[in-house]
């Protein structure tokens, strides 16, 4: 039947999943190995989600930061076209520079968000095992003023106890969106869970009702984290920040 065979796909928006990966010297060894391994393994899963999704297709972008910053590709790529080149760890932790760089790409003109049929808000996953060694405040301030960033799904993975969770919390906007991992296996599992969950929710039309995509992602990740040894999410009751508490009284 001719007419029905001429059917074309519905227009789909694009949802870009950003990996921001700390490749400073302290990540060297099995941490960076686990990141490389986990991302390679999650890409086919993202491709499956993308190909069967009538709402949006998923593209991936990855930025590594150490002494400087570097995009693995100079544009977001479909998961199936994203050939992962292993990242190597050395140097400092230029998180501020990474924030500025991300802010400059979260735009339509000259940035990464130029999809012809429009976008959904992106999902951004930040992985770090330390604290910024540059002036991250101005970079983060720039990022926080960006409208794409404001509406993005933001999750941070703190690798080990040396990760600066306050900074990660500032980045994501809440302590619930920061997941801490204590071993290599947990790191791999959490990367998969976070990438899949944020892509699944971020690339679909939002659900009706009151819960936001960010809240939904955080809730699902928290549920999954309970079953992963060596991974934990901050308990919202334990995150009362004394300095903020004092500010309130000041």
């Amino acid at each position: 039947m001719g007419l029905l065979d001429e059917t074309v796909s519905v227009p789909r928006r694009t949802m870009t999943l950003f990996f921001l990966i700390d490749t400073s010297g302290s990540m060297e060894g099995n941490k960076i190995g686990a990141v490389n391994d986990a991302v390679v393994n999650v890409l086919p899963m993202l491709n499956d989600i993308s190909e069967t999704n009538p709402d949006a297709e998923i593209k991936v972008a990855a930025l590594e930061f150490s002494n400087g910053v570097n995009w693995l590709y100079d544009e977001p790529k479909l998961a199936k076209d994203f050939i992962w080149q292993d990242v190597v760890a050395s140097g400092l932790t230029s998180l501020g520079a990474a924030c500025s760089e991300l802010a400059s790409k979260l735009s339509r003109s000259g940035g990464f968000m130029q999809s012809a049929s429009g976008s959904f808000a992106p999902a951004i996953i930040l992985l770090s095992d330390g604290g910024p060694t540059d002036d991250y405040n101005s970079g983060l301030a720039k990022l926080k003023a960006n409208n794409w960033f404001k509406s993005a799904i933001k999750i941070a993975i703190a690798i080990g106890d040396d990760a600066d969770k306050d900074v990660l919390k500032e980045f994501t906007g809440s302590s619930e969106a920061v997941i801490t991992v204590h071993n290599i296996d947990a790191l791999k599992q959490i990367i998969r869970v976070v990438a899949v969950t944020s892509s699944q929710i971020g690339s679909k039309s939002s659900t009706a009702g009151e819960i936001t995509k960010q809240e939904q992602v955080v809730k699902d990740i928290q549920d999954a984290t309970q079953n992963i040894d060596g991974a934990e999410t901050s308990d919202s009751t334990s995150t009362i920040d004394s300095s903020q508490y004092i500010d309130d009284w000041g």
Binding site: M1, G2, L3, L4, T52, P54, S119, A121, S205, A208
Partner: protein, 427 residues
């Protein structure tokens, strides 16, 4: 907790099911292939168990049984064990494909006939669901599985079906929900009816009824914008009173191509159901039976073109009788009148007298004379024919009557749920 291959789960009625392998996973849970007393079934297992209310609701739904054979309904509940629970349902046959596949053009309906059958079956499913007192909470394109050859439909993910007025907490996609639900309301049969119209529109036109120029112009579809475009500021793409959200050439290609092909009856219904009044006054939305009547009317206008032998629509209301494929005129002088319906009789056209998806008759040629058209009885019982000269003839199953003016058909008990239907041939 996830289940491993070979794991055994205990069902509440005593039996055990054994996990064979994982079939897929979604936001809420994992579906496993299981063996239950030698039968292959599906087990949906929740990764984290929903609350007690959910369990009780599932238990009640299982007790009540499926509203119709369109539903892949929960059949057995597991005990609460391994930190969670799940339920057993039938396996989905492999020749049914998720509705999303049709939207992505990975699957196409084999015919308009199959498309209309799917529409009819979905309507009927909703009607039965509401007749049982339920409402559909998390409706989206992942719930419907359709067979491309004949349009048969299976409705899945029925664990969130709840009695009307209750809220499962798991809500559907904003794109498929009524504006009042997008704004935070509780789903009920009125909001389901809106969702039904959206699903039917997408089934027929393979684009979304509210996604036109306005929506394309939005660079980043945030949740706030979704609440506007599918809620407070929803505008039907073919709204006669507001042209600001028309479909865009090169983007919404399917609807631009298909909208002119369908009969006015269908287009008028969508214009009405997506009008401001129906958007904002849920209880004025059309009931499912009325949708069935409209789809049946559209099916009455689907005929086989005598020239190119492809399916085409005629538009009785608009007096348009040109084939949508070859452009030639369709002869509509031969008709079967049924109450206020007029079924056009062209060779190869199937006739559906009631609202199910089994054809009751078919127009054919007399075996030895290609100039004589006949109506073949595809039902299981005989028909009685009164001729204009007063004779009474019997047409047994698979036999036929000639298409001659004035023949009156009594369908007797041959048409399910429409016993005693009578028709007359006009030629």
């Amino acid at each position: 907790m996830e289940l491993k291959k070979g794991a055994r789960v205990n069902l509440t009625f005593g039996n055990q099911a054994t996990v064979i392998k994982e079939l897929g996973r979604g936001g809420q849970g994992i579906v496993y292939l299981v063996d239950l007393d030698g039968q292959r079934m599906a087990l949906k297992w929740y990764i984290t168990p929903p609350d007690e209310k959910f369990y009780k609701n599932l238990e009640r739904n299982i007790r009540q049984g499926a509203p119709s054979d369109a539903f892949i309904w929960p059949e057995y509940l597991t005990q609460k064990e391994n930190g969670s629970f799940g339920y057993i349902m039938k396996l989905r046959p492999s020749d049914y494909f998720e509705f999303g596949n049709y939207l992505l053009a990975r699957k196409n309906f084999k015919s308009f006939n199959a498309m209309l059958a799917a529409a009819m079956k979905i309507c009927n499913g909703f009607m039965m669901l509401h007749r049982f007192g339920y409402s559909y909470q998390d409706l989206n394109d992942g719930n419907f599985f359709i067979r491309p050859t004949d349009g048969d439909v299976l409705i899945c993910d029925n664990d969130n079906v709840m009695p009307q007025g209750e809220k499962s907490g798991i809500m559907g996609k904003a794109r498929y929900m009524a504006p009042e639900i997008v704004a935070g309301g509780i789903p009920d049969k009125y909001s389901d009816r809106f969702s039904l119209s959206v699903i039917l529109f997408m089934l027929f036109f393979a684009n979304h009824p509210f996604e036109g120029a306005k929506v394309v112009a939005c660079p980043c579809m945030t949740e706030t914008f979704e609440k506007r475009f599918y809620g407070s500021e929803a505008i039907f793409i073919y709204s006669p009173s507001d042209k600001s959200n028309l479909p865009v050439r090169g983007v919404h290609q399917n609807v631009i191509k298909r909208w002119p092909l369908f009969p006015s009856t269908l287009k008028k219904t969508f214009i009405d159901q997506f009008s401001e009044e129906k958007l904002w006054h849920p209880n004025t939305r059309m009931i499912e039976q009325e949708w069935e009547r409209i789809i049946s009317k559209v099916r009455d206008e689907l005929v086989v073109c005598p020239h190119c032998h492809e399916e085409t629509f005629v538009d009785i209301e608009d007096n348009k009788f040109k084939c949508i494929n070859c452009g030639d005129d369709i002869d509509v002088t031969k008709q079967l009148k049924l109450n206020n319906r007029s079924l056009i009789l062209t060779a190869g056209t199937k006739l559906y007298i009631n609202h199910d998806n089994t054809p009751d008759a078919e127009v054919d040629f007399f075996p030895s004379d290609k100039n004589l058209l006949v109506i073949r009885n595809l039902t299981q019982s005989c028909w009685h024919i009164d001729t204009p000269s007063g004779k009474v003839k019997v047409v047994n199953p698979n036999e036929f009557l000639p298409i001659l003016n004035g023949l009156k058909i009594s369908f007797g008990s041959s048409i399910k749920e429409a016993a005693g239907t009578k028709g007359e041939v006009i030629a």
